[in-house]
């Protein structure tokens, strides 16, 4: 007995010695991002159901808790999120952006839990990116995402990285309250219908391969499961503004490709999708060209142009889409200053009816723990058939002041 406990003690001492010197494990870290936003809507709303408020304040907080051990090879991350909005009950919402365990093993990475995953290369539309549901009440650009529960395994090799995803639970898209701005005057019911009898518990699967070959970055992916894009169905024939979400089972194959040469980035995203009516293809292709150190300064000016095509049948069994034959042009100004100031301005123009979505995003740090962001979105709508027509009087400017703790 004595010798056994001695061996145990010796073993424990050895284990303690094998830890990196000076590193206290596990290591905990907690941070907080707190933002206050003011949206300014210069025009009266288009629909009588919408509240006429020119100034719309809101506040969000996003804490982040992490713990890591094994020299960072194991990590627990928790990122809750909450927004309080005075004028939109749906935009006042909470989410778990991340709650996962990451393990970096010998020749593989494993993530279990809610996570965010981004795929793709283009700027104006994210066709290939399909893992996470969009948090559509945060912003109309659909770049904010809800945390997706998953088991994710990535295996790097000389032949590229293969990633496998199993997603046991699906999350519905969020929509603005009918009485709020950016709702298009519609009420989207929060109880969705599904193709799958398992509804939101249908196990979705995805696989992706990505590789760098010289100046090319290539990604190939396939997704089988519940579409992240809902069809909006009319609930009651008498009220066209009363809608419900329907989620189809789809199969989507995606390709993303970037060729980087000199100051040029050439980009392509393409998908083929089955399950939304007839099988269709869609693509975004374009470039970003950067003028470095313009006019003898430290500033860089990027010129962007992309073409958006989508082959889905209009008014068919696929969700409506804006970018079916559209052109995006934009410019990115990076000051390369101490405050990391930058500005991105762009316009997506519908090649058929001339409708345009103009947007401007600017940001700059103030001191060490503050940051200011400005965003402006203008909806210049041509014809009533355009699916963004409902937003024609909801152009807005948003200012956000962020404090980091």
């Amino acid at each position: 007995m004595r010798s056994r406990s001695a061996r145990l003690a010796a073993g424990l001492c050895l284990a303690a010695l094998s830890l990196p010197a000076g590193a206290e494990e596990p290591r905990f870290d907690a941070t907080l991002e707190l933002g206050t936003e003011l949206r300014v809507f210069p025009k009266d709303p288009a629909y009588g159901s919408q509240r006429d408020r020119a100034l719309s304040p809101s506040l969000y907080l996003e804490p982040e808790f992490t713990a890591d051990w094994n020299g960072g090879d194991d990590r627990l991350t928790l990122v809750p999120y909450a927004r309080f909005d005075r004028d939109d009950d749906r935009r006042a919402h909470a989410d778990i952006r991340e709650a996962n365990w990451l393990h970096i093993g010998d020749g593989y990475d494993l993530v279990v839990g809610a996570d965010k995953v981004f795929w793709g290369v283009t700027e104006s539309r994210h066709l290939v990116d399909i893992i996470n549901q969009s948090d559509a009440v945060e912003d109309v650009d659909l770049e904010d995402k809800l945390g997706q529960p998953m088991v994710q395994l990535a295996v790097p090799s000389d032949w590229g990285t293969a990633s496998f995803f199993v997603m046991p639970y699906f999350r519905e898209r969020t929509f603005a309250d009918r009485r709020a701005r950016l709702s298009g005057g519609a009420r989207v019911d929060s109880s969705a219908s599904y193709d799958s009898s398992a509804e939101e518990f249908h196990p979705d699967l995805a696989v992706r391969w990505s590789q760098v070959i010289g100046d090319f970055d290539i990604g190939l992916s396939h997704f089988h499961g519940t579409s992240r894009e809902p069809r909006l169905l009319q609930l009651d024939a008498g009220d066209p503004t009363n809608l419900t979400q329907h989620y189809d089972l789809i199969d989507q194959t995606g390709l993303d490709l970037q060729y980087t040469t000199d100051a040029w980035l050439w980009k392509l995203e393409a998908i083929g999708r089955g399950g939304h009516g007839d099988y269709f293809g869609a693509a975004v292709a374009g470039f970003e060209y950067t003028l470095f150190g313009i006019a003898g300064t430290d500033m860089d000016l990027g010129l962007l142009a992309e073409y958006q095509y989508d082959g889905r049948t209009e008014n068919g069994d696929a969700p409506g889409v804006l970018g079916n034959n559209d052109t995006f042009i934009g410019t990115r100004l990076t000051l390369n200053d101490v405050d990391d100031s930058s500005l991105l301005a762009g316009a997506v123009v519908d090649n058929e009816d001339g409708s345009a979505l103009l947007s401007l995003e600017a940001e700059r740090r103030i001191g060490d723990s503050w940051k200011v962001e400005a965003v402006a979105r203008f909806f210049a709508m041509g014809q009533a058939q355009n699916s963004a027509y409902g937003l024609r009087r909801d152009s807005f400017v948003g200012l956000t002041l962020i404090r980091f703790f």
Partner: protein, 270 residues
């Protein structure tokens, strides 16, 4: 006896490439030999991990601070450059932003940026070698690994190293960038004769005017062989701005591999 003397002389020449170059006499050969000796003395470090602090000062003396962590992987082939990942910790709004570089010699480097807010990895253009790195007085090309074959060399003279190493003698070597898109016409380096480490570098802009001066201070030796500076002071003479880099907690051979410098791993680094 005459033969033995000659043999000894040849042996001395063979083990001392710099001595050899001194006999070769051409300033270009001597400059290259000094660079090769610097490079040779640093071979075999494998991989490293270091915590960096960057203090940026403007002409009025106002300062701001960045905390970064730099992991590097030595790529032994002379025709290939080293790999590195820079992860930002402060300021808080850029926490988690990571920059991956696979250095080439004369070809453009392969570079990726990881943006944590979108969880997005972007391949970026590496044409911008002469632009400021995160608003500092260091250009991107000042920070990436100094590969021998990126420059042409010319030994100018020997003299005291000056303020960065007051008690040492230095080789003064002029370097001309051979890679495209450099922001400099030439660099003049003071390399100390004892350890073959640069102590001071002067940077000349495209108009051949003195742009910046870099002092490299507080050298410490690791694993009985590898010298690393723990403080770099860069002063821009044209703007009055300056940047100080300090290095802490250097560790070598921590077990990093090619996989850790893959773009798909960027979102996992911390």
């Amino acid at each position: 006896m005459g033969n033995l003397q000659r043999l000894l002389a040849l042996a001395v020449l063979a083990v001392s490439p710099v001595l050899q170059s001194a006999y070769a006499e051409s300033p270009e050969d001597k400059g290259l030999a000094i660079a090769e000796e610097t490079d040779r003395r640093d071979l075999g470090w494998g991989d490293s991990d270091v915590v960096m602090q960057m203090i940026l000062r403007n002409a009025e003396g106002e300062s701001s601070v960045r905390d970064l962590r730099l992991r590097s992987l030595e790529v032994p082939e002379r025709k290939l450059g080293d790999k590195s990942i820079t992860v930002f910790n402060k300021p808080r709004d850029i926490e988690g932003t990571a920059f991956l570089s696979h250095t080439r010699i004369l070809d453009p480097d392969d570079q990726w940026l990881y943006l944590p807010a979108l969880k997005r990895v972007k391949r970026i253009s590496s044409k911008n070698k002469s632009g400021p790195f995160v608003g500092s007085e260091f250009a991107y090309e000042d920070l990436v690994s100094q590969e021998v074959d990126r420059y042409a060399y010319k030994w100018l003279r020997d003299e005291a190293c000056g303020e960065a190493a007051p008690d040492r003698e230095c080789f003064v070597v002029e370097r001309t960038p051979l890679y495209e898109h450099s922001g400099y016409t030439k660099l003049v380096s003071w390399v100390d004769k004892q350890d073959y480490q640069p102590r001071k570098v002067e940077f000349y802009d495209r108009k051949d005017a003195l742009l910046k001066t870099l002092l490299m201070l507080d050298y410490r030796q690791y694993q009985g062989q590898y010298w690393r500076t723990h403080r770099m002071d860069m002063v821009n003479h044209q703007t009055g701005k300056s940047t100080t880099l300090t290095f802490e907690d250097y560790s070598f051979k921590v077990g990093l591999s090619e996989d850790d410098f893959d773009k798909n791993r960027l979102k996992r680094v911390q």
